[in-house]
């Protein structure tokens, strides 16, 4: 049974901002199909009444007081930036207004 199509892989890759090549698509589609078929077994055992575990530590309400901490020195903020201008991170033109 095929669980994921080549088109689906292409769509997911766009969502994940990965400009995968045609060859990569072919390879990934085949491999992901094998992996997904194998991991689908998780559906066999996990019944409705079983609560999901998202955190294994028995902790709640871990909070910090509203007190200022240390900031980075301005030079450290931008020192690894691929491009910077006017103390800001410079990025190529943004296509769509998403936010």
């Amino acid at each position: 049974m095929s669980t994921i199509s080549r088109d689906e892989v292409a769509h997911i890759a766009r969502l994940a901002r990965l400009a995968v090549t045609e060859e990569e698509l072919d390879v990934f589609a085949g491999q992901l199909d094998v992996i997904l078929t194998s991991v689908q077994r998780v559906g066999e055992v996990a019944a409705d009444e079983i609560p999901p575990t998202s955190h294994v530590v028995p902790l709640t309400n871990v909070l910090r007081p509203d007190e200022p901490g240390e900031c980075l020195a301005p030079g450290d903020v931008l020192r690894s930036a691929p491009a910077a201008e006017q103390n800001r991170f410079r990025v190529p033109r943004i296509l769509d207004e998403e936010a």
Binding site: E24, I35, S38, V42, A46, T53, V57, A73, S80, A81
Partner: protein, 496 residues
């Protein structure tokens, strides 16, 4: 005694007593690295200057009559997924190449406080995704026992460095077995602490709900000493445990006498049998028999949901990874590809991520993105989290009947380089035994327990959450018993 063959405990003692200087120790290890690392490729970056300066500081503190911290002068190899201020940190990825972080991970600060001298950063599978260290963007690491084989992964640079006498201690990170499996296939000790016992602040996240940093050593006591130095509550990590850490060093010392009277050892039915190499099964069976001789009561225990651990893991870890790795976007740090003044940010981001990530990372990002996407969440991520609950319940039930659970650490000994790179499922199978403890957040250690056709085999000892000391106690007993059975420490059988 040669500094490079000394244990961490011996080095700390010798430095404290002035029998050897921290600089001599560091220099001896740099010499060893210079002579063997072109072959092993365990290190990605050496911080010779920083390490020697740290060693000199320890020597002058001693000269001034100051009391030295516990591990003063002990060299360490640090997996290059732990962030180090002013020292390049890459996660073995092209996308981070050249990144010089402006801050230190919490465990790096703790290790400096303990007097540990960090020699450099070790190789790994890119972003810790892999079981062979072949997924590094900067070349594979080789196993000191057999240079045609992998040192395991993802912390293979760290395991090879310790097994290859380049450092007595190393830090690894374990998400699904990335400390324990490399320890097993290189004949050293590696421990994955209880989730939350060691701060994750400054550990480049792969799968946040699973990642734990932990120690490698050539002896159980060394691993315990390093564990003690890095464990403890960190207010910068919301998932950091507040309960005091158990005394793992005392447990390692106590276990060395190999008297296990009153201890019940459970052997996990599901982690063995078909699919496990005969030599591995034989070495593990012999060790279990020795544990029984040493006074332990041995029982067989079934944990049926462990069969689903692989499926759950390969849904949860890639899902979290797809989100954690979104920050590598060519905006604030790291690689940028295709910025020609015309291309949009979206195109530059996508090209950068395609060029900067290796195949396994991309495979997992796509898998995880798919598993989290609407319409599939319940069937994949949601179900996988339920399996996590079931695995925890199996552990709880098992620990009502026994004090520790044991299994092989890995179904096979070190496998040849290149053997599994094109077969993801075969690669993933290397983690079969280590995944349950990762998913439950419980502690587990791998300790050398024998040889199979001249290659090391590891025994995994699993304990309930917070009871890391039990892992160390039983591992120390195994170490004593194995050394006796082999006539000398297992690592001494390496022809390296």
């Amino acid at each position: 005694m040669q500094p490079i063959t000394m244990t961490a405990a011996q080095i700390a003692d010798a430095v404290a007593q002035g029998q050897i200087s921290a600089r001599e120790v560091a220099q001896a290890h740099f010499d060893q690295i210079a002579s063997v690392d072109t072959e092993l490729n365990a290190f990605l970056t050496l911080d010779t200057e920083g390490a020697l300066a740290a060693a000199d500081a320890i020597d002058s503190a001693r000269a001034d009559g100051e009391k030295l911290p516990a591990l003063a002068g002990v060299p360490l190899a640090l997996k290059d997924i732990i962030v180090t201020k002013d020292v390049e940190t890459t996660a073995a990825s092209k996308i981070l190449k050249g990144w010089v972080p402006p801050y230190d991970a919490t465990i790096v600060r703790k290790m400096r406080a303990a007097g540990i001298v960090v020699l450099g950063k070790t190789n790994l599978d890119e972003f810790a995704m892999g079981s062979s260290t072949e997924n590094s963007a900067f070349g594979a690491t080789r196993n000191p026992w057999d240079r045609t084989r992998t040192p395991g992964g993802s912390s293979g640079g760290s395991s090879a460095a310790v097994a290859g006498y380049e450092a007595p201690l190393a830090i690894g990170t374990d998400t699904g077995g990335s400390i324990r499996q490399p320890a097993a296939v290189t004949g050293i000790v590696g421990h994955k602490p209880t989730y939350g016992a060691v701060s994750r602040y400054g550990l480049i996240a792969f799968s946040s709900s699973l990642d734990q940093a932990g120690p490698f050593g050539r002896t159980v006591l060394d691993a315990a000493l390093l564990h003690e130095a890095i464990a403890g509550h960190d207010p910068a990590d919301s998932t950091s445990l507040t309960a005091p850490a158990p005394d793992v060093v005392a447990a390692a010392r106590e276990g060395a006498d190999a008297d296990l009277t009153g201890l019940t050892v459970g052997v996990v039915t599901e982690l063995g049998g078909a699919g496990y190499e005969a030599g591995v099964s034989a070495a593990v069976a012999a060790t279990i028999a020795q544990l029984s001789n040493a006074g332990a009561k041995v029982v067989e225990i079934s944990c049926p949901s462990f069969d689903y651990a692989l499926g759950a893991y390969y849904l949860i870890a890639p899902s979290e990874a797809s989100s954690n790795l979104a920050k590598f976007d060519a905006v604030r740090f790291g690689l940028r590809v295709g910025d020609n003044g015309v291309a949009s940010l979206e195109e530059v981001m996508s090209q950068t991520r395609d060029a900067g990530f290796g195949a396994e990372v991309k495979r997992r990002i796509i898998l995880g993105t798919y598993a989290l996407s609407s319409g599939y969440y319940d069937a994949y991520y949601g179900q996988a989290q339920k399996v996590r609950t079931l695995i925890s319940r199996d552990f709880s039930k098992a620990f009502e009947q026994c004090d520790v659970l044991v299994s092989p650490t890995s179904p096979t000994v070190a496998f040849p380089l290149g053997e599994r790179v094109d077969d993801p499922m075969a690669m993933y199978a290397a983690d079969l035994c280590t995944l349950p403890a990762s998913l439950a957040g419980t502690p587990a250690i791998s300790v050398p327990c024998g040889l199979s056709e001249g290659l090391p085999v590891g025994l995994q000892v699993m304990a309930p959450a917070f009871a890391d000391d039990r892992c160390y106690r039983v591992a120390a007993a195994v170490e004593t018993l194995t050394t006796a059975a082999l006539g000398k420490p297992l690592l001494a059988h390496s022809t390296f």
